[in-house]
Assembly symmetry: C2
Amino acid sequence: MPDTPAFQDLYPDEWSYCYGCGRLNDKGLHVRSFWDGEETVAVLRPRAEHMALPGIVYGGYIASAIDCHSTGTAAGAAQRAAGKGLDQGPLPRFLTASLKVDYLKPTPLGVDLELRSRVVEVKGRKVVVATELYAAGEVRVRGEAVLVQVPDDFKPQV
Amino acid sequence: MPDTPAFQDLYPDEWSYCYGCGRLNDKGLHVRSFWDGEETVAVLRPRAEHMALPGIVYGGYIASAIDCHSTGTAAGAAQRAAGKGLDQGPLPRFLTASLKVDYLKPTPLGVDLELRSRVVEVKGRKVVVATELYAAGEVRVRGEAVLVQVPDDFKPQV
């Protein structure tokens, strides 16, 4: 992965406890997402227990990875759309309004999963992100997520 | 919950390691689903670490719960469609072909989540399941899943 902060490293502390991607959630999955040109990328290795049937990655783990990579991508896209670099202040935080996942073929356990996303739309506080998940050289899963920026007056219940 | 086996208790052992619902996965979420008339129901309590923002349940956990409750519901529906009771042999095992989740409003952490599903369609080896997730008396999330029965010649890689 690039030697730069991930989008998720740039969330304010109080919004960094997400099970999927929060750097301050010590039991979580720690999804970390980066720009790669116009796409974003995240690489993940599921743990042995993240199986559906033996040898196959659990679909809920995949949905989780797509979810958090999409919210991260939305944050990066919103920052870029505002004309700001990743070094210019904390990233905005998005939540998922809807998530669609198509499992095209089984995803093998025991190898890295690469998620690649493109920003389909940035419109006001809404971002749409399309993702492909690769494992062992093949597209296994496609996802599309609609993300909405957390309201400015939202108070995390820490 | 009813004093009867859950659908997931009736999967063959080698297909009972799913992170979301496998009774033999000791690190998993242990989703357990039951008939309630024509609907199916599962009740779950997320752990403290299963947060998105503080106080709100992680969307990936919710997607996982809907995923496994839907595969369980598909298994129950297929058994019922075949004219068999839950006591007549192991349940067939389904995998998710697609999953759509709409997060209508935040789901509060620290209370039970109740998933209620109805079987939209049983057609050959395909089942479609629609789910509503309730927390603190309100529908928070809607899901729809398309499930496909695992091929008879599928060999789990135990």
